[in-house]
């Protein structure tokens, strides 16, 4: 998939318009796992704008993000960097064809103490 298409897909999944970012750095300032990241939260936005999705997807930050959404909460231009990196993770998961969860698969996977919310968020992310 061309980098342009990937960037479009990230924007579509996250519903974020990265052009609204004014590069204030508040997301990086609020990020608890900033130091473990190679690409910093405020750079997610510029990577998506420059459509350099390859390095974003292969970066360590992809899996360092705790999805605490502090950056989404505090961004003054409501650019939601957390959602962008979450969408980038989607791209990786979807590439390995495990991206569609169908209802009939659920019975075997279901064990009694599986939290209901996990199912709902799994469906929210991986439904067709």
């Amino acid at each position: 998939m061309s980098s342009n298409k990937q960037a479009e897909q990230i924007k579509e999944i996250s519903g974020v318009n990265p052009l609204k970012c004014m590069k204030c750095g508040k997301c990086s300032a609020s990020c608890p796992s900033y130091n473990e990241m190679d690409i910093k939260p405020h750079q997610f936005v510029s990577y998506v704008v420059n459509e350099d999705i390859e390095s974003l997807v292969n970066s360590k930050s992809l899996w360092k993000c705790l999805s605490c959404f502090a950056c989404v909460e505090r961004c003054p231009r409501d650019v939601k960097p957390g959602k962008l990196i979450d969408a980038a993770r989607q791209m990786v998961v979807r590439q390995r064809e495990q991206d569609y969860l169908s209802p009939n698969e659920i019975p075997e996977l279901l064990d009694p103490d599986l939290p209901q919310q996990l199912l709902v968020s799994a469906f929210r992310r991986y439904r067709r």
Binding site: C24, G25, K26, S30, C31, H42, P76, R77
Partner: protein, 662 residues
């Protein structure tokens, strides 16, 4: 039948790019009454107007239609051109084929079809136009300035120097406004009080300026040249003539619990108080909510200690009604409410303060008598952190979308003053961009960095944590070095966004001045008429129109004064001739129209009328053309159509509707 001329403007390529102007002119010739049609590159240019004048004379036209830009732009130009050529200026109609057609449609064929329809509507309307003569209305040679800050004072001084009477209405007990709360001012670092108090004294001493303090505007009626304003002088409970301003009452007053608004609530004041030492007028005010005498009926010490016998507990509010020719709004600004910004811990720790509170802390007359100390424990701070753009440039609903313009300069000023007075204190400023445009401004900021070693870090602060040991931990990011920063600070100063004075919306409604969603008053034209409101006779001075610093405020105050003087200098004003007119034969005299007239322009009289031979005395509506502003509410309320609006008559609008729907 009218002899009409239609002139279609290319407006360079603005119109001609998407509208086939030749076709519009060609179609115009097919309209009833049109005897002349032409198109030209720039109708509003001298050459264009000459073409109009020539066509009027040559073909003795009785009316013209100009298909061009918005009438709000050049209607006056084309009316004057017609008048110079001997045609009544109100026989001119404009078809807006630029803003409403060429600029918003891409397809040439579609845009041309719409332009032709708009031209047809204008021709249909001008066919029914009648020549009108503007009336005259008198001008009261007196101006009102709402707001007693530097903007209001400067405007009042300039108007008074031109020889006109001016009244200043100030809500707080003294004039001086926001500037009186500042310590120093940029870029020259002179002391704010030193440059403000002479102007305040000059204003109070000026025989043409009359100052109402502790007063508010309550009702405004009338219109340009003839405003009638009710001013409510709130009861001070101190007789202004007798009081000598000795201040004994303030010392002796036992109730010291009220937070001092002037010091931003950082310290307390007595129930009977003057906001600050150099207050003008230097007459105290009793704050009834905190005065023991008013709450419980006991006490009354101030009356006892006052030698001048000026205390008067029974004093009541007083309404002063005054007529004015011009009104200048100078209501100033305040910092926004920071409760929603809990990530900066503003409401958790007293050491997190706004820049305006820092002004009071550093001011000699302030709560800490000028010593820079932490408000929690009074110790001298070693580490101070400034955070820029708090609440500004935010598109969420917590803050304001605009840049407040003055914060970068006053933060550089604060940093410089602190480093100068306390060299061992480290100052760090977290910024997104430092915006210091204009004369000597960037040099001022560079001095703070180069000469005083203020540490500027590019990156917003994410969170300020109040630590158990009382120090503040600031979590920020340094985007240039790509490092996250955890800095301990003794004091954090927030460069808070500013917003217009909250009750300006009430004043705007009274003045029918238009106001935008951020509560800034809308100017008549953003570039060409920045100090006037679209409502004639209302002028804007200072931050009520938009964020600006003191130099710009004083410049705009002077400009507003000149505009007001220009209005007051006229003895008569030309009034809008498009006013309502009642047809004597049809009027039922039922007073429905008088009920809806916002200006009270309609009165009734019994008049002898000859209605097709029947002579009888009838009760008829009479419109006072000086008062009527031509809104048209009465024409719709009148069932029989007796009341009609000249310039926008029922038949004209119906003709436009027919032309559009043909």
């Amino acid at each position: 039948m009218q002899r009409l001329g239609v002139f279609v403007c290319h407006c360079g390529s603005n119109i001609a790019a998407t509208v086939d102007v030749a076709k519009v002119a060609e179609m115009a010739l097919m309209e009833p009454g049109v005897v002349h049609a032409e198109d030209y590159q720039y109708m509003c240019s001298e050459a264009g107007q000459a073409k109009i004048a020539e066509a009027i004379k040559e073909k003795n036209l009785t009316g013209i239609v100009v298909c061009s830009c918005s009438p709000r732009m050049h209607e006056a130009t084309f009316r004057k051109a017609a008048e110079r050529a001997g045609l009544n200026p109100y026989m001119v109609e404009i078809a807006n084929i630029r803003e409403h057609c060429s600029w918003i449609h891409k397809d040439m064929e579609e845009a041309t079809k719409k332009a032709v329809i708009l031209m047809r509507a204008a021709v249909a309307k001008v066919n029914l136009n009648t020549p009108l003569q503007p009336g005259e209305s008198r001008v009261t040679k007196r101006a009102l300035v709402i707001g007693g800050g530097i903007a209001g004072i400067q405007t009042a001084l300039d108007i008074a120097d031109a020889g006109y009477e001016v009244d200043i209405v100030e809500k707080t007990p003294s004039i001086g406004g926001r500037m009186s709360q500042l310590d120093k001012t940029f870029p020259t670092l002179d002391c704010s009080a030193c440059i403000l108090t002479p102007k305040m004294v000059e204003a109070s001493a000026h025989e043409k300026i009359n100052i109402y303090t502790y007063s508010e505007v309550e009702k405004v009626s009338g219109f340009v040249g003839d405003f009638t304003v009710d001013i409510r002088k709130k009861a001070r409970h101190v007789d202004m003539d007798k009081c000598t301003g000795c201040g004994v009452c303030q010392e002796k007053c036992p109730s010291k619990k009220a937070p001092s608004e002037f010091n931003r609530g950082l310290n307390k004041r007595s129930a009977i108080y003057t906001p600050f030492a150099q207050a003008i007028p230097n007459v105290p005010v009793i704050d009834c909510d905190n005065c023991i005498k008013f709450k419980t009926g006991k006490c009354g010490i101030c009356a006892k200690v006052c030698q001048a016998g000026a205390i008067d507990y029974e004093q009541q509010d007083e309404i002063v009604t005054q007529k004015y020719g011009a009104i200048v709004v100078a209501t100033g600004f305040d910092t926004i409410n920071l409760e929603k910004y809990d990530e900066y811990a503003y409401s958790q720790s007293p050491d997190v303060i706004t820049s305006l509170e820092l002004e009071r802390v550093m001011n000699a007359a302030g709560p800490t008598h000028g010593h820079l100390e932490r408000l929690s424990d009074g110790k001298a701070p070693k580490e101070i952190v400034f955070i820029q753009c708090v609440g500004s440039r935010c598109s969420d609903d917590r803050g304001k979308p605009y840049c407040s313009k003055i914060c970068c300069m006053y933060t550089a000023k604060h940093a410089m003053l602190i480093r100068d007075k306390y060299p061992d204190v480290n100052v760090t400023v977290f910024y997104i961009d430092v915006r210091t445009p204009g004369k000597n401004f960037d040099e001022f900021y560079r001095r703070a960095v180069e000469q005083y070693g203020v540490n500027y870090i590019k990156g917003q602060v994410g969170k300020v944590i109040l630590q158990p040991n009382g120090k503040l931990l600031v979590q920020g990011a340094d985007l240039l070095d790509n490092r996250q920063i955890l800095k301990e600070a003794d004091m954090v100063v927030l460069a808070t966004a500013i917003e217009p004075n909250p009750d300006v919306r009430k004043i705007a409604t009274m003045l029918t001045a238009s106001i935008d969603t951020n509560n800034f008053l809308t100017e008549a034209h953003a570039k060409l008429r920045p100090v006037e409101s679209p409502t004639a006779g209302i002028f804007l001075s200072g931050v009520c129109q938009g964020p600006k610093d003191i130099p710009e405020t004083v410049a705009q105050a002077g400009a507003a004064a000149v505009k007001a003087i220009g209005l007051l200098a006229k003895d008569k004003l030309l009034t809008n001739p498009c006013t309502a007119k009642s047809d004597e034969l049809l009027c039922n005299g039922c007073s429905t129209c008088a009920n809806v007239c916002p200006y009270g322009a309609i009165t009734y009289e019994d008049k002898e009328v000859n209605d097709h031979g029947i002579r009888e005395v009838r009760r008829l509506a009479v419109v006072n053309n000086a008062l009527c502003q031509g809104c048209g509410a009465c024409t719709v309320a009148c069932p029989s159509g007796a009341m009609d609006l000249q310039g926008f008559s029922n038949r004209q609008i119906i003709a436009e509707v027919d032309a559009i729907c043909r």
